[in-house]
Point group: D2
Amino acid sequence: MRIAISGNTYQHEMLEHIERLLLALAARGVQLVAERAFDSYLRQQLPGLPPMRQCELENGVDAQAIMSIGGDGTFLRTAQAVCSQDIPIMGVNSGHLGYLTTADVKDTALIVEALTGGTYRIEHRSMLELGCDSAQALPPLPYALNEISIVRQETSSMIDVTVDIDGQPLTHFKGDGLLVCTPTGSTAYNLSVGGPIMEPTTRCFALSPISPHALTMRPIVVRDDAVLDITTRSRAPLYQVSLDGQCTVLKSGTSVRIARAPHTTGVIQLQGTNFAHTLRHKLMWGKDNR
Amino acid sequence: MRIAISGNTYQHEMLEHIERLLLALAARGVQLVAERAFDSYLRQQLPGLPPMRQCELENGVDAQAIMSIGGDGTFLRTAQAVCSQDIPIMGVNSGHLGYLTTADVKDTALIVEALTGGTYRIEHRSMLELGCDSAQALPPLPYALNEISIVRQETSSMIDVTVDIDGQPLTHFKGDGLLVCTPTGSTAYNLSVGGPIMEPTTRCFALSPISPHALTMRPIVVRDDAVLDITTRSRAPLYQVSLDGQCTVLKSGTSVRIARAPHTTGVIQLQGTNFAHTLRHKLMWGKDNR
Amino acid sequence: MRIAISGNTYQHEMLEHIERLLLALAARGVQLVAERAFDSYLRQQLPGLPPMRQCELENGVDAQAIMSIGGDGTFLRTAQAVCSQDIPIMGVNSGHLGYLTTADVKDTALIVEALTGGTYRIEHRSMLELGCDSAQALPPLPYALNEISIVRQETSSMIDVTVDIDGQPLTHFKGDGLLVCTPTGSTAYNLSVGGPIMEPTTRCFALSPISPHALTMRPIVVRDDAVLDITTRSRAPLYQVSLDGQCTVLKSGTSVRIARAPHTTGVIQLQGTNFAHTLRHKLMWGKDNR
Amino acid sequence: MRIAISGNTYQHEMLEHIERLLLALAARGVQLVAERAFDSYLRQQLPGLPPMRQCELENGVDAQAIMSIGGDGTFLRTAQAVCSQDIPIMGVNSGHLGYLTTADVKDTALIVEALTGGTYRIEHRSMLELGCDSAQALPPLPYALNEISIVRQETSSMIDVTVDIDGQPLTHFKGDGLLVCTPTGSTAYNLSVGGPIMEPTTRCFALSPISPHALTMRPIVVRDDAVLDITTRSRAPLYQVSLDGQCTVLKSGTSVRIARAPHTTGVIQLQGTNFAHTLRHKLMWGKDNR
């Protein structure tokens, strides 16, 4: 069995736990593949690591599953990089609370048992794809598991956002921006801007205005096969489009298209975890001290 | 062609428009059937009405379509009464702004052309069904097109609501109540309690807490094939369950089940109307005076 | 020194703690006065209680302070009853979390020291007064420490609320009702309906619509010397006005006036408690699991 | 009588109305003073302008009143520049809807009568002052009539905001930022981020979190004599502080102090305008199409 490893490179507090986890997997006969930067980072700190082949996630990962070691940022980057490759990802948390992670890096036995025994569940989560006529403006993998957000580039003037849905006018407003999110992303930035929480298996996207300057503007939930054409105008020459927090800058007036991506992300969930549990325990949804 | 008519009995200001509409339909050879109470009401005021057979909506309506003349309340009552009969309903507005109506009672020509020419679109809208072990407590047609709401019977103490989804715990909170709505109902009472707007063809329901006493409680969107089991506890002996505003009283501690109804309502839409248009023009969604 | 005691009559789980507290106060030479119903309730359960004179709160309480033993409901009732008598109230919690209580009934030593040593702070909290031309409709003590709410009497139709401020039109909307709250009440029912949290010493009231059916309606904060005239219309013949949860029924069309009461409530606060602490620890304001 | 004029320099569509207004004032014997840049802009386009002395607003304006010709941005800039000089400002709108403007540039007669006849009301609006130990980081006039906002400099990571009030801990949260606004600013950016509307004469400020990533975070209203110490931490090296939309960049970790400014802005209001009218007509507060 082969497992690929991705991770961020600022986790010195968790290094010994990472080492213990990787050694335990190797001891069970698992072949390890690590993304190049993460492997180099670990080897500088941990001379006793088991051997791992290096890879670049974007170039094709030859493994049955990927372990993303870090937080939600690492998970999102990994999902974007491998989304066309149909490999499930297990989020292993090594920092603060992660909403996308299913285990803690300290839970060595739990993780090793689940991966080697296959005692996990894969949830197929929809993703978003960003399109644009001036294609050179886009990142090479224009996919997002959480959200695509359109925000003003400068803080002093609002942007003017027009949205068409399936070729028909949907809405038009002024504000800081607009966010389109998947159910997975509904508890991320969408929650911050007041958008609705969506159960991960709903076939929907939410469009949530970001700081709209009108009492009348509210988020809306649409079918996930809707095609959204969004035109942004501004006094400023540029505006930003972010895919899961990774920024691209476009010219004011440029339209983008947001639709469901052709790929999904397979999110590995350990037994006993589910969405409601995550909501209650990580986000304190409905928590009450009485 | 046969058209059935339903309506409320307090529309004296619109009587002459109703008469003109019914005469115009009769003149085009349409056979009219009217619900008994509405027919009696109209005949008292309008001696020149065309002949109409009387019917009770619940007992089976022999017609190709139903015209609901009134506002949203009339439309909802009609939808509930005929939902198992697979007859589309056209909402004809004769009062204040109706969100479910597609034409105004004064638009005689438009309505006659659409009905006799078949130049309309039918949108199949999902409905909710209410279940309860003590079935005698329920109304005979326990269906709702907009929403089922669970609210406290007395104003002085909060109720305690526990929700399971598909047999798993979802949430628990204290407040005035809980509302479960369809996409159709998302712009009705759900909008008042801060729930999300959902495009009518999304396959979702929203659960929106009503005045929850906790900062942590927020609405959630779930798949429309989810089964919700809801238990309500209270200091008071009773609580209320409303189907589209029609109240039933249950004992505190009684659980109810809310799920998608086996029927849909066929909502007749005239050409040129769509959801975004209704949102913008009737609800002023996104409207801005600048 | 004389301390008056008020309390609710369903606290059997805390009886021994109440007894210990009262005995400890008596042992320090404090003369105790208890409201009649509470005294009778306690004597039935606790034969070893110290002697206490009986009183009715409304008829004048001869004491330096009042101890309200129970939860927020008991505190509010006590505050209403004695608000014209200028006696500070200490909230002693004997149930679930109380937002107005400053000590727990189990904290015998803390409470005894504070009361006998005078080591506490009194916060003077503004109250609301309800006026109405048909004065017989009003309760004899038409004051509220938390809020006055105006709500529909029946669940099936919205009420129509018009508000004038200082004789000028302020707003008009349809919904379940309107709530006017003090800063003290801003974390009570006001919080449930989405109204703003106000620091207790701000000189403001908030007007918060309850489930308004319009995207455009939002709460507003006004000066606490504003005079509000509120007219409520409804299809139903009656509507409800509640003072801190105590209900009165008025005829639709009757106007009421809400203004700052001539009295304040002196809320006793133990050292080390303050508003931000209560917000964070009792309401979990700003709490984050990360 | 002497009137000073400020204005922005992109109002070619309104040039003839501006010319007519200035000529009408001159014809009534009003001496005009104009800020240098605006005067130069107008003279390039309008050779027939009356003579106007030039001035810089910051250096002292010798006039009984200032006319700010433009929108809210122009008004805010003018208020900041002259706030220590105790000269009232009339907002004359020459673009889209302005919330701070009391007249339209086309209303020549109305404006001339009001200014020359003194038939207006002056509302004294509180302002905010920004303080910082590294004073060289601040703009020379660190005042704001609407709001001071603290926002992240980069879009990809949240900032961590800690607030003390009068030397005591108030709150701590993660998000896009924090906004502190005056009652005047409560309908500006504060409204976009979900903060409470406050009547202009309330003695309060609102603290509104900007896109906080926690269900538990909500705006709070505090007394306007509170002193707020705000510390911002971030993965990024810098964060932004904006005074009425004018940006300054500070190092992460730098604390700022926000308190009521020693000056107020005198806002000239024409007869018949008031706050509720502005709310209803410009912001559509409470507007309902039914």
